[in-house]
């Protein structure tokens, strides 16, 4: 949004008036507003105000969470002294009561009384119905996401009163409700959006990229993509866990491309928060003791070494297992992450002990076994291959790649390392032309069956290894509708065991989300979308 001349003049007048006031009350007014302003610096860009836009950046999801409300929200819990989102507790956000039928096929959402949009008009059931219809009908990111919760067509959503909407499922999908908590199920002011819809664009997707029709905790004050976005608090917002408005009146989200500059800003106390600093800067900042570091393992994500199971020689499970037995996991973890995360290797089991996923897998270094497996695969003399990583992930991937090359040389496998521009890497991955590479992933919904369905089955791009296993495929399809907890648990354990035995991807570790903030900032929470939720934060 560019500033027009008129807006600019207003701003100048405003600042002149503001200046006069603060001159009259020396210091207090400015100090007060700075304390109630949060300034986040980040490397990325909010490229759309509608998180459902195809091509939306991760930062756009974070902004969407603050600007829009959803019907429901995950809770948050404190684990080891840090806050993370709690996938297992779901509370109402725009709805204040959610009824679930006994067969698990019908949800009734009772909307919060007195909830209003940013323009002050009341939220109605018709708005919610329109928003849900949009999520499943418009050509956007939402449809695919909602589909994972069996929400696929508009007739599943019915208005059952001024303030109540009913959602019906064909089968009792375990993830239907969780999907309505994600950034891709925003509730939109339909009256406003419809005014800006056109015949070719009935869901106002073009307009909503640069404008908002929302009712969330924050509204847009100004938006300059690639530079900065300023949010101001929606004082009539009631969707919080405690019904209170968030602490910060104003949030400035600024794009500062250079990581070292972001670190400098935090050190000087001019910026309040950054979640994308370099590991080396973080330890230096910590050493000087001027900032607070909140390090939270990204529990719904992983970094892994991927084998293309549709390409020789990695279509042979024995070859994959041989490589799995040859890698120096501990050294890689230390060299790549400096130990900043949680490991997923080094377990000792043959049947999965729990349904948690990702969990520690039985990956350990055993060169003799590696050589034996390679011989069994008929490749006793080794082979040569290439190992790729994206330039954007080089900080962690480069040292790991060097160790992989060195370790595999010991079993006769010769590795050529390829560092690729990010766009080239994703293209080659999607076309499945890379034999062997390192990748990261996160699942918004950390249910074990959803995780495995996303990363180890089907043809979508997140199945990095192109893995196909009929038993696993039928298990994931059955598990999503399984209502018997014991059966669900057994299915999940079986899936995890298959992944651990067949190793289409070697899951290595979960890097920390290192949130660096001013010592006064409190309440930072790790969310499934890996962005900052400004509603949690306060200044002590």
């Amino acid at each position: 949004m560019g500033l027009t001349r008129r807006q600019g003049l207003k701003a100048v007048l405003g600042s002149a008036v503001g200046g006069a006031i603060s001159a009259a009350l020396p210091g207090t007014a400015n100090a007060q507003s700075r304390a109630e302003t949060l300034r986040q610096v980040m490397g990325g860009t909010i490229n759309t105000l509608d998180a459902t836009t195809p091509g939306a950046t991760r930062e756009a999801f974070g902004a969407g969470m603050a600007i829009y409300d959803r019907l429901a929200s995950f809770g948050r819990k404190q684990v080891d002294g840090v806050w993370t989102f709690d996938f297992d507790t779901i509370r109402g956000e725009l709805a204040d009561k959610i009824d679930r039928s006994a067969d698990g096929r019908t949800f009734t959402f009772h909307l919060r009384q007195g909830a209003v949009w940013h323009d002050g008009t009341p939220v109605t059931a018709a708005d919610v119905k329109w928003s849900l219809d949009r999520a499943v009908s418009a050509k956007s990111l939402s449809a695919a996401q909602m589909g994972t919760g069996s929400l696929t067509k508009p007739d599943q959503f019915r208005i059952v009163g001024d303030h109540a909407v009913e959602v019906t499922l064909d089968k009792p999908d375990r993830l239907a409700l969780a999907n309505l908590c994600t950034a891709l199920a925003p509730m939109i002011n339909s009256t406003l959006a419809k005014k800006n819809a056109t015949a070719e664009d009935p869901w106002a997707q073009a307009w909503l990229k640069e404008n908002t029709a929302a009712g969330g905790a924050y509204m847009i004050e100004s938006h300059r993509p690639g530079q900065q976005t300023v949010l101001k608090r929606h004082d009539a917002w009631k969707g919080g866990a405690d019904g209170k408005v968030p602490f910060f009146r104003r949030v400035i989200v600024q794009t500062v491309p250079e990581a070292a500059t972001r670190a400098n800003l935090l050190e000087r106390g001019d910026a309040d928060l950054s979640i994308d600093l370099q590991a080396s800067d973080i330890s230096a900042l910590q050493g000087r003791g001027k900032i607070k570091l909140v390090a939270i393992p990204q529990t719904n994500g992983f970094t892994g070494i991927v084998f293309n199971t549709r390409m020789a020689p990695f279509d042979n499970a024995k070859v994959r297992q041989a490589i799995a037995a040859a890698l120096p996991y501990d050294d890689m973890y230390k060299a790549a992450l400096f130990g900043r995360g949680r490991t997923l290797f080094g377990a000792d089991w043959s049947e999965a002990p729990s349904t948690a996923f990702p969990q520690k897998l039985p990956l350990r270094t055993d060169l003799a076994r590696a050589k034996a497996l390679l011989a069994e695969a008929g490749m006793a003399n080794g082979f040569s291959t290439s190992f790729a990583f994206a330039a954007g992930a080089a900080a962690a991937a480069e040292p790991a790649a060097a160790l992989i090359k060195e370790a595999l040389a010991k079993i006769g496998v010769e590795v050529a390392i390829q560092k690729m521009p990010d766009a080239q890497m994703t293209t080659m991955e999607v076309e499945r032309r890379l034999p062997f590479f390192i990748e990261s992933g996160t699942a918004w919904l950390p249910a074990p069956d959803y995780f495995i369905r996303t990363y180890f089955s089907g043809d979508q791009r997140w199945n990095f290894s192109g893995y196909k296993n009929p038993e696993l495929d039928s298990l994931v399809q059955a598990a999503r509708f399984e209502t018997d907890p014991a059966k669900y648990e057994a299915a999940c354990k079986r899936m995890i065991t298959i992944v651990a035995q067949e190793v289409p991807t070697l899951m290595l570790w979960q890097p920390n989300q290192d949130a660096v903030m001013a010592p006064t900032v409190d309440g930072f929470t790790y969310w499934f979308h890996r962005q900052v939720d400004y509603r949690d934060l306060r200044r002590a």
């Binding site: 560019g2 500033l3 001349r5 600019g8 003049l9 701003a11 100048v12 405003g14 600042s15 700075r34 302003t37 610096v41 860009t45 490229n47 759309t48 836009t53 195809p54 091509g55 939306a56 050509k139 990111l141 695919a144 996401q145 589909g147 994972t148 994600t182 891709l184 640069e210 300059r224 690639g226 530079q227 900065q228 600024q254 794009t255 500062v256 491309p257 250079e258 070292a260 500059t261 400098n264 800003l265 050190e267 000087r268 001019d270 910026a271 954007g392 521009p421 990010d422 766009a423 080239q424 994703t426 293209t427 999607v430 699942a443 918004w444 996303t454 043809d459 979508q460 791009r461 997140w462």
Partner: protein
Amino acid sequence: MAILQSIGRRVGKRFIASLPALLGVVVFTFLLMRVLPGDPATFFASGPNAGQEEIEELRRQLGLDRPIPEQLVRYLYDIATGHLGRSITTGQPVVRDLAERLPASLELSLCGLALALALALPLGIAAALRPGSLIDHGVRFVCTLGVCVPTFVSGLLLIYAFYVLLGVAPDPTGRIDIFAAPPPDITGFLLIDFLLVGDLAGWRAAASQLLLPAITMALFVLAPLARMTRASLMAVLGSDFIRTARSIGMTQWRVVIVYALRNALLPVLTIVGIVFSTMLGANVLVEKVFSWPGIGSYALDALVASDYAPVQGFVLLIAALFVVVNLTIDILYGIADPRVSIE
């Protein structure tokens, strides 16, 4: 009047002559972007459940599902009607992005160039007057240092010294303090806009924000300017007319500044043109370090993401700027040395 007419004629001719070159640049960049490995649709289709369908949809929205010749014709038509497509990285039309960012880059480059000239000319003159002396060696040392230290290193060093340690510089992000109100958008050049609305405090703030990045850029281009001034002035100082001027007892100052320098300026002007064009495109690193919202960092981000439209728009803009800069330099030639007239 006649001079103005001749300049006008020259400008017109130049623009017409540059059209084929611009067209060539457009077509070449267009094809180059499509030859590069890396597909924007797959890169940006990174939604949590991105499948082939989403990739196809993005490709359709970007018009990449059509055959390349058709895409090219559509693109040329768009350019002719003043559209450059939409950036996926920022989600904005490229024309709007460039229009918003070009003044930032121009302001930075012009200030950097002015600073560099203000330093380079005296240094070059001093070195030329006493070749082989301590001053000459000192100038050579400073210039070599400026060229050797990459801009992102000198930029980070300046930030560390003046912002982190001394705390005298404002926070090195963007063109204006983040909490301050921007001036009305009249020309896009903050220094000019603040003056136009008479906001002197704002002007001072914007200038102090500009100082560190401008110094960083000036350091980098100091060497070619100072070295060229020195070399060209030395050649002129050895010529006959200078000997004559000296022999008739003109003051040293008059000889050097009025006669020698003016004659030595032509090669310096050429270098100024080249340096300025390079600064505009190649100041990416400075823009990145100082979060300067300019066109260089914009184009680099787009390139990394294989975002076609902004890269093509950027190259076209830079090509057009080259034409303008070259033209300006040619006109300046005529002013510096009336014997030169480039038709």
